[in-house]
């Protein structure tokens, strides 16, 4: 259990999600895009940890277990994202997402 106010904690999580979304919508560099996705992902993981701290017993532990799985998934996503960066860089010589439009109709 924690004595911190729940509203402040959730406000921090929402602020981080907003910053991540801002990055996803405005950045053009693929690596910056990956970092913005990571920031949003961390906001979601923080939410799991916050609610697990406010619940006692099994429910709290389940929240932490979900957070552990999410950390692993986010790390996997970065690895695949960087593989895409390398493939993009080899094919086009640039990692600007605006130029990677060969799949567009």
């Amino acid at each position: 259990m924690t004595s911190l106010p729940l509203a402040d904690l959730l406000g921090l999580s929402a602020a981080l999600l907003g910053i991540g979304l801002f990055g996803i919508l405005t950045r053009r560099n693929f690596i910056l895009l990956l970092i913005a996705v990571e920031i949003s992902m961390n906001a979601a993981i923080l939410n799991f940890v916050i609610f697990s701290a406010f619940l006692s017993g099994d429910a709290g532990v389940n929240g932490q277990a979900a957070a552990v799985v999410l950390v692993g998934l986010a790390a996997t996503e970065v690895a695949v994202g960087l593989a895409i960066v390398l493939a993009l860089n080899r094919q086009r010589g640039s990692i600007n997402v605006a130029e990677a439009s060969s799949l567009k109709l």
């Binding site: 911190l4 921090l12 970092i35 961390n42 701290a53 593989a83």
Partner: protein, 162 residues
């Protein structure tokens, strides 16, 4: 204001400011350094929220592995790491920070108390039972996902693919 509140607001401020700086600075390497500070601040928040295992995982996976992976991505996709000529050598500020970290870690390790309660009572045991236990299976699912991602990543970067 209790020390817990103070620690929360400090860490929350660091997290928000470094997340914004990471997306707004011009130099890509500086972005990655700021985002690593962001990950460390979040690890501190997890410790504060009574999730020490997750805090350590955050330090190891995010502040360690993901940061290095992103730096590697920058190194192999750009001819020059910095867009302009950077000063070489180590300045006094990073050197002082490194020394301070070493001193803090050493004093922390020297004063850390050994476990004074039985392991079965530790809160991490409940988490371990959920993750590895008979009714869990989450780590198995995560491992299979990572195996698939590994195969996909190798397919993407293999030689001779057009």
């Amino acid at each position: 204001m209790s020390p817990e509140d103070l620690a929360f607001f400090g860490l929350a401020g660091v997290a928000v400011v470094t997340a914004l700086l990471a997306l707004l600075v011009r130099e890509l390497v500086h972005t990655i350094l700021w985002v690593s500070v962001f990950f460390v601040a979040l690890a501190g928040l997890y410790f504060l929220l009574a999730a020490p295992f997750l805090g350590v995982l955050q330090l190891g996976v995010y502040a360690g592995a993901v940061t290095i992976l992103l730096l590697f991505g920058v190194m192999v996709t750009r001819k020059r790491i910095f867009s302009r000529e950077a000063a070489t050598g180590i300045g006094p500020a990073p050197l002082g920070l490194a020394l301070l970290t070493i001193v803090l870690l050493a004093t922390g390790a020297a004063t850390a108390s050994t476990a004074d309660r039985p392991l079965a009572m530790h809160p991490v045991v409940a988490l371990a039972n959920t993750l590895f236990g008979i009714d869990g299976g989450w780590l198995l699912l995560l491992g299979l996902t990572m195996l698939g991602a590994l195969a996909g990543a190798i397919y993407l970067v293999r030689e001779g693919r057009e």
